[in-house]
């Protein structure tokens, strides 16, 4: 043990030296953090003010075939360095001539006690060139990315738009903001030899990384068709507006989403916020007779009805809970298939009564009404489906004909797709892929099943009935020569905001349908809001469906079907497949 003690003294010395070191460090920390704290804090704050944030270019938005829908273009922004200006008012006058801004406003900016001020941002390239040519002392230009939508109003409600600092404010631009936004870099303004503050050079070479690009499921061509046909119909009928949603039934991918009236996202500041709203998913409306499709689906699935079941439709008039329900066509007996095809209110009410409140409610919820579809766009509404305990005596019959219920166009398209694809309720989606600046895939979306409200047999039978709607029912104007179309019309009275009762003059005309019926490629929902010339969905909305389908089917390469089978299905009501 002698070895242990022999150098004990040295151990004490070394330990003491180390502890002395710790003491010195702690004392130094005390001087920095207490004695000099105030002075250093001021310096730190001044420095943070001298920093400028630079961002990588915002990502591009493409359609499904890589067509550019939103892109950044570099435009000049002009800044001033007040500390290095000798004659601010003279400079302000010169600038005012190019910028079309009042000289005293610029002068006020240039007289601030700051080392850096923006004078005007995101100018036209021509203005930038003129400013460069003037080479004013203490004034400089940098290139900044301005958001540009090359197709103008096309898809504007879906794309949304970005603000002055490149922040996404609506639509895809907002929902995919974390992806689209470029890398942020804080650049500390440097001083040159004369102590002037300058914008650092060489920003372009080592600048921050660009944002991710986003690829949509939208097909620019179909989108164009949808917007054009909707616009024409809205103009022709003198309607307030309208919505079209085109969905791929098997996947839930959105092919087109058109809202009218349109707006140009390149000039968004001049437009009221009301116009930006993507009504296809934010607004719920009373769908009217299109809802009969889903009541019918429930009845078929629950085997309450078959297409051939005879229903007595009371010669066009029936009293339910002290209210008279009318049919637009007087009849005695008709088959269940005809109830849908001729859109009999009485027949549908009787069907709903046969099902009972709980089953009707359960099936409507199963088809996704009253809940968000969770499409990847901001601002979606859930619509309104009251729970059975809140139903009044008239509710069941109202809901059966699409009243007392609020749905969005996207909900309708999704529910209709479930009928078209054999019973699968899909989660609709609009972004298929996100890639980073180097082209690597960062996120990928694909079809997602939410649930299966009805069996394939029910879906098939219902499709047969809906084909009859177009072949010889209320939806004949939706027929596309050479193709089998399944669909349903809807005409709903709007509630008059003044009286609170159903209005006799304000309507929503709609048509929902899919095509080709035997192998659906598109489910299309057309909603025309407050048409003036005609109210009927079969008259105002069905032709829009027809014209979009007529153009889009050949574009998608879908070959026409033999007309013989069309006739057979139309008469039978029960679908038979070869």
């Amino acid at each position: 043990m002698t070895g242990t003690d022999s150098h004990r003294g040295r151990r004490i010395v070394v330990a003491f030296v180390l502890m002395l070191g710790f003491a010195v460090v702690i004392f130094r920390l005390f001087t920095l953090q207490v004695l000099q704290a105030a002075e250093l804090t001021v310096k730190a704050e001044r420095q943070h003010r001298k920093a400028v944030t630079v961002e990588g270019e915002r990502g591009t938005i493409y359609d499904r075939h890589g067509k550019v829908l939103a892109i950044n273009v570099d435009v000049p922004s002009v800044f001033g360095v007040p500390s290095s200006l000798e004659n601010p008012s003279g400079v302000a006058r010169d600038l005012a001539r190019v910028l079309h801004v009042r000289a005293d406003e610029i002068e006020k900016k240039l007289k601030q006690e700051r080392s850096f001020v923006w004078i005007a941002r995101k100018l036209d390239p021509e203005q930038g060139r003129r400013l460069e040519g003037m080479s004013l002392e203490g004034i400089g230009t940098v290139m900044e990315g301005r958001r540009f939508y090359p197709k103008g109003p096309l898809l504007s409600h879906v794309l949304g738009f970005a603000g002055m600092d490149g922040q996404g404010l609506e639509g895809i631009e907002r929902r995919y903001e974390p992806y689209l936004r470029g890398e942020k870099q804080i650049v500390v303004l440097q001083r040159d030899a004369l102590g002037r503050t300058v914008f650092p050079k060489g920003l372009d070479e080592q600048g921050p990384a660009a944002g991710h690009s986003v690829m949509l499921t939208i097909d620019e061509v179909i989108q164009y068709m949808a917007e054009k046909e909707l616009e024409e119909a809205v103009t022709a009928t003198g309607a307030k507006g309208g919505v079209v949603v085109v969905m791929e039934p098997r996947t839930g991918a959105i092919l087109a989403m058109a809202v009218n009236p349109r707006f140009d996202p390149n000039a968004v500041r001049a437009i009221s916020a009301d116009r930006w709203r993507n009504r296809a998913l934010t607004d719920a409306y009373e769908p009217g007779s299109t809802m009969k499709v889903f009541v019918a689906a429930a009845a078929l699935e629950e085997k309450v009805m078959t297409p051939g079941t005879l229903v007595y439709v009371e010669n066009g008039q029936m009293v339910v809970a002290n209210t008279v329900i009318h049919d637009h066509e007087k009849a005695g007996w008709m088959t269940f298939a005809q109830v849908i095809q001729r859109s009999s209110n009485i027949g549908s009410v009787k069907t709903a009564m046969a099902l009972g409140e709980d089953r009707v409610y359960r099936y409507l919820r199963a088809f996704g009404f009253g809940e968000r579809t969770e499409i990847d766009l901001p601002g979606e509404g859930a619509g309104l489906v009251k729970e059975p305990q809140d139903w009044g005596s008239r509710s069941l019959s109202s809901i059966a004909i699409g009243q007392e219920i609020g749905v969005s166009a996207v909900q309708l398209a999704t529910a209709l797709s479930a009928v078209a694809n054999g019973g699968w309720l899909m989660k609709p989606y609009i972004v298929s892929e996100v890639r980073d600046a180097k082209g690597r895939v960062v996120m990928q979306a694909g079809p997602q099943v939410r649930r299966r409200p009805v069996s394939p047999e029910t879906a098939l039978t219902l499709t047969g009935i809906l084909e009859g709607v177009v072949a010889h029912g209320t939806g004949s104007k939706a027929a596309v020569p050479g193709y089998r179309v399944a669909g349903k019309t809807g005409t709903a009275q709007k509630i008059d905001p003044q009286t609170g009762a159903y209005s006799a003059s304000l309507f929503v005309g709609s048509f929902v349908g899919f095509v080709p019926a035997e192998d659906p490629r598109m489910a299309i929902v057309v909603v025309i809001d407050e048409p003036q010339t005609e109210a009927w969905g079969g008259v105002v909305a069905a032709p829009v469906f027809q014209r979009i389908a007529e153009q889009a089917l050949p574009y998608l390469g879908v070959s026409p079907h033999q007309p013989i089978k069309l006739a057979m299905n139309a008469t039978g009501g029960v679908l038979q497949r070869p």
């Binding site: 180390l18 070191g21 500390v188």
Partner: protein, 399 residues
Amino acid sequence: MSRRSIGASTLALPWPSSGERGRRTGVDGSVLAVTVVLALIGLVMVFSASAVVAGNRFHDSIYFLKRQLAWLLFGFLLLQVVSRLDYTVWRRMALPILGLTAVLLVLVLIPSLGVVAKGARRWLRLGLVSVQPAEMVKLVVVIYLAAYLTKKAEMVREFGAGLLPPLIIVGVLAGLVLLQPDLGTVVVIGLVTFGLLFLGGARLSHLLGLVLAALPLGAMLILESPYRRLRLMTFLAPWKDPADAGFQVTQSFLAFGSGGLFGVGLGEGKQKLFFLPEAHTDFVLALVGEELGLAGTTAIMVLYAVLVLKGFQIAGRAREPFGRHLALGIALLIGVQVLINAGVVTGLLPTKGLTLPLVSYGGSSLLVSLVAIGILLSVSRDRQGGRASSGYGRGIGAR
């Protein structure tokens, strides 16, 4: 990995039932506790320092946190294993490890193998991970010197036969590290070597001669290299050119100063947003200063001081001379590196690239620190004649 898994691994560690008063053969509970606390502080600060940068660069704000946590869990596993080993195994292993480390140090200098970052060739890619051989060298030198001093206990007072051989071997290793170049590590190795030889009984006249010989060498190294000369100049007058060379240190000052007594709050620091370079590695103490204030920095320094004193106490109680040298070497290693890092960050010393052990981000540094503490714990089990009276009184600074 979740937070819960840290908890689980901590619980599985060999805590003695009641600290000092535990079984005679138990490991030192307070050393382990201090280590765990420092490592957890490090984890939190690394996240705070790197979240914004990582979010921007990798679109994953927990990029660095995940990696630090993985290294931490692996490190504590190694610590567990090492603390259960009989430490005399390191005596037998000293030369083989020394040889292996020398090979790695040579490999890292080969351009096709060593990865260059920030102008120095320090990393060696091994499959998925990169390691820094220079981090290992520090611990290896301690093990080697402890073994040498145990074997040649009586010869150390002679220069040629006792002092010179280890100086040459350590000198060669230091030379290899210097070629990377990594002056910070060389300084740590030099100071630890000097300290261990002094503690091992070398003559004061010999050591004084060594210091006199090292001074011109050091001066030459500094003046030879333009960046070291620049660092020295900025150390002497940091505010003279705050935009450029003095940037790191002045930014560090600003961080400390704006923290004040209790800091601006965890996660609230502004300096880490691209102003303070290396906020998650070498300058993490400055971030602690800004966000947790003097209270936070002092607490960290006191924890390190406790760790170093416990090291000396463990050395004083060790039955084997090898254990004593080993414990002293590890205590010195931690103490010297912490003091140099803190000195650099607070502007007391010229800038050197050294991490703050256990707290800074970095796998190699963390792993080596935890293994070193594992060894220290294994020495702590070996107490001279049980606890209390005989052993306790010998501990330096325990009074």
